[in-house]
């Protein structure tokens, strides 16, 4: 409703005619989904925000895994009472290489948390490393995107979002299995890979604190 009113007020703007897509979306029954984006790069945060907003997602962008956990209401590995906004996060998209706590660490923390494990997580990285990809998918990531992230990547994210109008931990008892559209298009072939137990055998630069 809000979007409809916003759009109708902008329909007289000279420079940008209201796109058909946005108007169609506004009058359709697409529910609003909230995505938490985690990336230490200010440019990439801006880009992912733009990509997500164009698909009508509500976006919260943070610059570290620790801030992401804070937002989600988890401190020191223990779940505190979930903040109301955190329980409405429908998808988390995180960079892999970040100083301090990596995207992989964040993924693990989320999947280890009873309160958060049902939230789908997508990992992004500029490095096309089979070991890294395999370990993230094994840990429960829905998809591993190779940067730079494109519009077509973001359009696929909708398939991972469950119950966009309800909190993911609604306790409804429904089985939330992995999405059948868990695309590995960007991953390349994983056949015959030796799975290493330590995903950090690929240097991640996370040991270097960059001011």
């Amino acid at each position: 409703m809000e979007l409809l009113m916003e759009l109708s007020s902008k329909m007289t703007t000279n420079n940008y005619p209201v796109s058909q897509k946005r108007f169609a979306a506004a009058i359709s029954s697409i529910p609003e989904a909230h995505v938490l984006a985690v990336d230490d790069s200010i440019v990439d945060r801006k880009l992912i925000e733009g990509l997500l907003k164009t698909s009508l997602y509500k976006v919260t962008a943070v610059d570290s895994a620790l801030k992401a956990l804070e937002f989600l209401g988890v401190r020191d590995g223990c779940s505190t009472s979930l903040r109301p906004n955190a329980s409405q996060v429908n998808l988390i998209i995180t960079d892999y290489c970040m100083p301090g706590m990596t995207g992989y660490d964040l993924l693990k923390a989320i999947k280890d948390s009873t309160a958060l494990r049902e939230i789908p997580v997508v990992v992004m990285s500029s490095e096309n490393s089979p070991n890294r990809i395999e370990s993230c998918l094994k840990e429960g990531a829905e998809e591993f995107l190779i940067k730079p992230v494109k519009i077509s990547d973001v359009k696929r994210l909708w398939s991972y979002i469950r119950n966009p109008t309800k909190a993911p931990c609604s306790g409804s008892g429904e089985t939330l299995g992995p999405s059948p559209i868990c695309s590995k298009r960007k991953v390349g072939s994983l056949e015959g890979l030796q799975v290493k137990s330590n995903p950090e055998s690929q240097p991640c630069l996370n040991g270097v604190i960059v001011a």
Binding site: N15, R22, D44, S126, K147, L205
Partner: protein, 207 residues
């Protein structure tokens, strides 16, 4: 925009990214000769006295031509087109906002790299970390040549090659200055189009 004292240095752009150029030493159109620029300015001014719509179309065509040239010369790649597709009525300055962040972030990274390469011994891990960041951000906005230099730079870091790293830093500064100057020119054209009541000829988002 005065054509009389145009410099040909790509790194000397004095234009603000989103405003008409008023400086006397502006590198916005450094690729054109002084004579050609003066001619163009006279044509633009002549156009203003006639039908305003013609002026807007001319500016729109210039913008399209500039973008196509930058793509053809691989200064920018298709990722930049992605950014343009994301700009719409709800996000009317998206491209210039992302690019401005890129300019600021890059300036910081180049300063850090300059300092890091002055050290003795060089901490190649720290240098590589900065180049990795630069590679990431240039890739995200589609600054293809900048990204290509970053890839080369990382190899020299791996090999702990001081001279190779120094050369790459110089190249990085040049390529960055070039793409910055071109993008600033694009934004200037956009402002002129919008000021004349026209719309930006951006690609539509594909479904």
């Amino acid at each position: 925009m005065s054509a009389a004292s145009m410099t040909l240095q790509a790194g000397g752009a004095k234009c603000k990214p989103r405003g008409p150029c008023s400086g006397s030493s502006c590198a916005c159109e450094s690729e054109k000769s002084v004579v050609a620029q003066k001619q163009e300015r006279e044509e633009d001014e002549a156009g203003e006295k006639d039908d305003g719509a013609v002026d807007v179309e001319k500016l729109q065509q210039k913008l399209i031509d500039l973008t196509e040239t930058l793509l053809a010369e691989e200064v920018l790649d298709q990722q930049f087109t992605q950014l343009q597709q994301l700009q719409d009525e709800s996000n009317p300055e998206f491209v210039s906002e992302v690019v401005s962040l890129f300019f600021e972030d890059s300036a910081r990274l180049m300063e850090e790299l300059t300092e890091s390469l002055k050290q003795d011994p060089i901490n190649y891990v720290a240098v590589d970390a900065h180049v990795h960041q630069f590679k990431g951000s240039s890739s995200s906005i589609g600054a293809q040549k900048v990204k290509a230099v970053c890839i080369k730079f990382r190899k020299f870091c791996e090999e702990k090659d001081r001279e190779g790293c120094q050369k790459c830093l110089e190249q990085l500064k040049q390529e960055f200055a070039l793409v910055k100057s071109k993008l600033e020119h694009m934004f200037e054209l956009e402002q002129q189009i919008l000021a004349a009541g026209g719309s930006l000829p951006y690609p539509e988002e594909e479904y």
